[in-house]
Structures are given as C-alpha cells and as structure tokens.
Amino acid sequence: MSTNFDERDSAYGFEREYERAGMPGRGPRRMQRRKICRFCIDKVDYIDFKDLKLLQSYTPERGKILPRRISGVCATHQRMLAEAIKRARNIALLPYAAD
C-alpha cells in the first residue's frame, strides 16, 4: 500500500482551495478565484480508467471521488472522471475504500 500513497500526495494539489472554500460563517466571505475545469483547458475528450496518476489526484486519502465543488471540474468532465474512477475500482487499480 505504501508506494501508491507516496506518489499520490505530491499529485494532490487541491488542499489550498479546499481550505479557502470551507469555514462557513467565520468573518466576511473571502473572494474566491473562480476555479476552471482543468480538463476543458487541456481539451480532454475521454478520460481513460488506466490513467492511474490522473485518477489518484482526484481520489484523496479515503479513496472517495473528489467533489467538483472542490476541484472545480465541469459537469461533463466530472461525469467522465467518475466513470473512469469506478472502472478503475472494479479491476482493483483504485480502492473502493481506503482505511
């Protein structure tokens, strides 16, 4: 398990945005930069379930699918991403649940 996880941490770059988006009701709402879909910028048409590096960056420690309110992925690509992650789980490339 250890090798998988080490790689993942470096690829996971959403933490800062997560903190900024959270903490409701504490002080005035800070202005947030509008997040834009990374896949739209890269012009991705299909997300492959074998692209482990990519999928791992959207499945944080617990192995859950990162919601798009945090990652900023557009609905079309979030759907593709979810499908790919579920396929990868089916053949044990990704965990269903990590402890």
């Binding site: 398990m1 090798t3 998988n4 509008r34 834009i36 879909c37 739209c40 910028i41 012009k43 048409d45 299909y46 379930f49 074998k50 557009c74 609905a75 079309t76 396929r87 789980r89 089916n90 053949i91 044990a92 490339l93 990704l94 965990p95 269903y96």
Partner: protein, 140 residues
Amino acid sequence: MAEKRTYEVVFIIDPDAEDAEVMRLTESVQKIITDQGGSITKTEMMGKRQLAYEINHRRNGIYVLLEVEGSGAEIAELERRMRVNDRILRYMTIRVDEDRRRAEKLKARRARKAEKRPTAGKKRTEESDTEAEEAESEAA
C-alpha cells in the same frame, strides 16, 4: 448486432502463475475471440502490479489488456470462460467504440466553435462553452 464494436478487455491473472502460464492463458483468450469471429487489435501485458484491495486473498496480480473488435458474441463466450477459470482473478470488459465516437464529436464541435469565434474573450466564454456542451451531451 451487425455493426462492429470495439471492446477493451482487462483481466487479472493469479500472481503465482509462471510466465509460461501467463502466455498460455493469454493465447487461449485470444484463440477464443478469433474462433468466435472477433479480431484482436492490441495486446498489452501490463505486468505484475499491486492490487488496491485483496481479491481471493491475493495482493498482487498480473494485468493483461486486450483490444477486441467484433459483434459481441465473442465477448459473451470469453466472459463465460473467464468466469470459470480460477487462475483469472478478475476481468472487465468495456465497450469503447461509443465513447470514442463521442470524443470525436466533442473534438469536432470544439474545432467548429474555434472557427466561429477566432479571438473571443477568456474565462467567461470558456464557462458558457462547457455549459453549452453539457446541455448538448445530455440531449444526445
């Protein structure tokens, strides 16, 4: 059923299997497909890798990926055989021709849009872009 379909078949072989056995299994899988009238366009041995969770008390597995073209009948036969083979820990078949067609369509649409507006604004248009795409893909 008449049209040709493309599938990706991934299966995981028991990690205790020798190289020769892996080869033999892969060949037998290929033979099942060709016997049923399908054709193999790609074979990729992804090698031994760690499983994300245990399957039949195994922590590792040997992954093999095939790309198959055919009617769908050979997939049915192949899955039936793989189900009873206990050296194959897991298999998954996904139909990729539809997804690929969809990707082509998205690409074509993007090209068309780029032509229509050669030097439009930045963020705002990008957003409305994706929203329009969503609506269209849902309608399709």
